[in-house]
Amino acid sequence: MGKNLYQKVWNDHLVGTLSNGQCQIFMALHLIHEVTSPQAFGMLKDKGLSVAYPERTFATVDHIIPTDDQSRPFQDEMADRMISVLAEATEAHGIEFFKPNSGAQGIVHVVGPELGLTQPGMTICCGDSHTSTHGAFGCIAFGIGTSQVRDVLASQTLAMDPLKVRRIEVTGSLGPGVTAKDVTLHIIRTLGVNGGVGYAYEYAGSVIEAMSMEERMTVCNMSIEGGARCGYINPDATTFDYLKDRERCPSGDAFDAAVQRWASYASDQDAEYDDVITIDGSAIEPTVTWGVTPGQAISVLDHVPDPKAVAGLDQELMTDALRYMQLEAGAPIAGTKIDVAFIGSCTNGRVSDFQAVAHAIKGHRVAAGVRAIAVPGSEKVDAEARALGIDRVLTEAGFEWRLPGCSMCLAMNPDKLVGDEVCASSSNRNFIGRQGSSTGRTILMSPIMVAAAAVEGCVADARVVFGLENR
């Protein structure tokens, strides 16, 4: 019987078994940022420990960095202090830090892949749940807490229980105007926000195979919103093409040798899975959320669901979600007014996301009264988008083009919703209060759907707004 990628990578990084039965697993790559990691250096200090493999940890700042003016000190004193603490700690321990204006700074899950730090067959961890993004390259990549950041700094290993593996085959092909974001929202909506607890997701099938690396990252990014701690896609020619000539990847003969090794991690034809499910990709519509979890999603053509259709606690929670969102059961979701449009985040803040928007929005204008912001995921994304003139197309259409960071995805910097504003957002979480106001409302969707909402001033089908049907 063959092995799947998860089993191969796990066995390859197994150090031993611990007294409680957990496995000790070596971490090939560790990424850190300013919010969840500085405390871990304090914990190390308390225990008199040092960093065991500093060359395997890389740092960036993303969550709290302003996107309008990044000159230091920041207006927010605490934000400035957090960056200083990270800068001092990385300096003291010999860890490479992608500082602002280094040309390499950006959202941690954008930076790793674009530099080529993320490579197939690795175990990758970071104090951030969207580390699952890196699974797009055929890695076991997952989020950890700060105490585990400490464990990795001190030992380069973690105590872990193995996950089960569910293969999700997305068959057929996507219609025009349907994107990777719609695929991932559709999967979460189908399997539930806790459907993946205990599982790693292996995404496969014709729809996934046809995706670019950036699209694959969008899908893997949101594995965690479906409860799966990690999600991955088997490495193939698309993966290797993306990695060729990346700054931190091997080159020349070493690259060819690496490709051979990388390819060997892919799941065997006869690999066993704990579960296999199939989703018809051709039936996926542009998908948007109506509630306060990413699983509370419907097609843009649908109506807001009615709590009366379910019973008990579920009914109560659905009623609460609709009350919070100020939506009416049975009303069409299209036409829901928006105040803010946000394109960015580690889900959809890469060059291809902005390129798709630029392509669609040319000749259109953001509706009056809508605040529209576009935030590149990294300094490299920013530079490339500018070189392609994407920033200009978006600004001409009425978007603000900002400096790189997490921005309104979690609003730890000054980019926030005000009061109960509604935001059409390309990010990954529509949790209560997520975008910086405890009454703010988030509707998740793909970047081109955000662009369509920005143009219409309300949730709208991008295929109609931008005439994408006959593409």
Binding site: V15, G42, I64, F142, Q156, I224, L317
Partner: protein, 199 residues
Amino acid sequence: MSPVSQRSGRGVYVAGNDIDTDRIIPARFLKCVTFDELGPALFFDERFDSEGNSKGHILDAPQHAGASILISDVNFGCGSSREHAPQALQKFGIHVVIAETFAEIFQGNCTTLGIPCLKMVGEARQSLARLVGQFPEAELLIDLSAKSLTFANESFEFDMQESSREAFLLGRFDPLDELLVAKDRISGVANRLGGGSHQ
């Protein structure tokens, strides 16, 4: 760390499925370089309005003051990996969480901090939640080795991630010391895997 086989305390039921870590601790409280001050920020936006007045959340109900065992519903602790969430619970005074299921990162964080996460299915958990509401002053007694809980003369069974339960019983829920013992084997794996991305 000494072994933990029993825990006791008064309970409080915070109803809801999919209670995410953004709700447990809103992002603005993550602006800190230590976890020390997080206790009062627990569930802040659910407990207080924008002026800081109490909204009458169950955690602030006088009869539940001092409760240390939090009961909730399905998929507790989903979302962000922020350890700030279990840290806030612990600093607030919660030292056991009971739910139908937990998000994995949250559960792992709790274990390392010494907070057992007990899994209890639908009906049993709901009747426990009801009883805790009726007898807020009574103590829950939790036995990790027997996987049983007693309250108000009733006994309940629970489940738990086996490696986590074992870790509590062994007094090794913080794994770092044991991880460090394997230094040589770790460097063996590191050498075998080679440089990786740090060319």
